[in-house]
Symmetry: C2
C-alpha cells in the first residue's frame, strides 16, 4: 500500500459515517473504519487522534475562519469580518456537493452523546479562534467575544436553514441573512 | 449504613475533586470516590450516571435558571429576565462559601479534556434551557436564542471576574455589570 494516500481524511470520514449509521458508533472500531476506507490503522492515527475525532476534520475550520477574518478589508467591522469568515465556510465546507454527507453526519452526531460533547468543545474552539482573530484586528476584547459568540449563533442558524431548504440557496447568502437577523435581535433583548 | 445519606451529591463532589487533584482524573474510579466520601457505589450511581458527571450536579442549574426566568416580572425584557436568573445563580451556586470549591473545580476541569467536553455540553443545555424559558414568556424564537447566548457569555465573564476578585463582590452584582457590558458591546459589532 502506498505511503501517500490521496484524500485519506475524507475517505476515513465517509467510511466512519457509513459504519456508525450501519452498526452504531459504539460497535465500530478504528480498525473497522480504516479497513472500510481501504487504509491502515497507522494512516488513521496519522490524521485523527481517536475515533470521535474522525468526523471533525483536524481543526481546519478554525484556521479557515481565522484566516478569512484576518483577510477581511481593514474597514470591515467585527460582524462584517465574520461575514467574510462564513463566506469562506460556505465556499470550502458547506458546499452543495457536501450537503448530503453533512446532513448524515449531523444525524449521527445527534444520536450520540460522546460525539455531541466533542462537537460542543469544537464549537467553543471555533468561537475562541474567531474572537482571537478579531482581537488581532484591534477589536477590543469584550466586543470580540460578543461578535464571535453571535457569529457562531448566526452560523448555526444559517446551517439549520441550509439543511432544511430544498432550494439551491448557498450557505454564504444564508449566513449573511442570519447575521442580519441576529444583529436585529440584539436590539430587542 | 443508612439508606438516606445527607448531602450525598455534595460529599461525592468534594471527594471526587480531592481525588482528581491528588492522583488525576484518569487514575480515580467511582469506587474510590464513593469510599472517600464514606458512601457506597450504589449511592454514587443513584445521583450521577458516570464519573464525569460528579462535578456537574444533576442539571439543577438548568431548572434554577429556567424558574428564575419564569418568575421574573411580566414587564421584564429578555435581558432583565436573564439578570434575575443570574441573581438566582449567585444566591444558590456562586456563593462566598462555595468560592474555593468552585475555583478548585475549574482547575480540575481545565486540566482534563473529557471534563471540558462535558462542561461544554452542559453549557449548551443551560443556553437551551434559558432560551426555552424566554420563549415561554412570549419572546420570539430568534430573540430568545440571542438573549440566552449573550446571557451565557455575560455569566462566563461575571464568573471570570468573580474568580479573580479578592474583594467581597457578590456574583449577582458582577453578573448585572457583565450583562450591561455585553449589551453595550453588541452596538459595536
Amino acid at each position: 500500500m502506498a505511503r501517500w494516500e490521496p484524500n485519506a481524511p475524507e475517505r476515513l470520514a465517509h467510511a466512519a459515517l457509513d459504519l456508525f449509521a450501519e452498526r452504531g458508533y459504539e460497535n465500530t472500531t478504528v480498525i473497522d473504519i480504516a479497513q472500510r476506507a481501504g487504509l491502515g490503522k497507522t494512516t488513521f492515527f496519522r490524521h485523527f487522534q481517536d475515533k470521535r475525532e474522525v468526523l471533525f476534520g483536524r481543526g481546519m475550520m478554525d484556521e479557515l475562519l481565522a484566516e478569512a477574518i484576518a483577510a477581511a478589508p481593514a474597514t470591515a467591522g467585527p460582524f462584517e469580518a465574520i461575514a467574510h469568515a462564513l463566506d469562506a465556510a460556505g465556499g470550502a465546507v458547506f458546499t452543495p456537493a457536501r450537503r448530503e454527507f453533512i446532513a448524515r453526519r449531523q444525524t449521527v452526531i445527534a444520536a450520540n452523546p460522546e460525539l455531541q460533547e466533542r462537537e460542543a468543545l469544537k464549537n467553543l474552539a471555533l468561537i475562541a479562534s474567531m474572537a482571537d482573530a478579531l482581537r488581532q484586528r484591534g477589536v477590543p476584547d469584550l466586543t470580540a467575544r460578543v461578535a464571535a459568540e453571535l457569529g457562531a449563533l448566526a452560523s448555526t442558524i444559517a446551517f439549520e436553514r441550509w439543511s432544511r431548504t430544498t432550494a439551491d440557496d448557498d450557505f454564504s447568502k444564508l449566513a449573511r441573512q442570519a447575521l442580519d437577523d441576529v444583529q436585529a435581535s440584539t436590539a430587542l433583548c
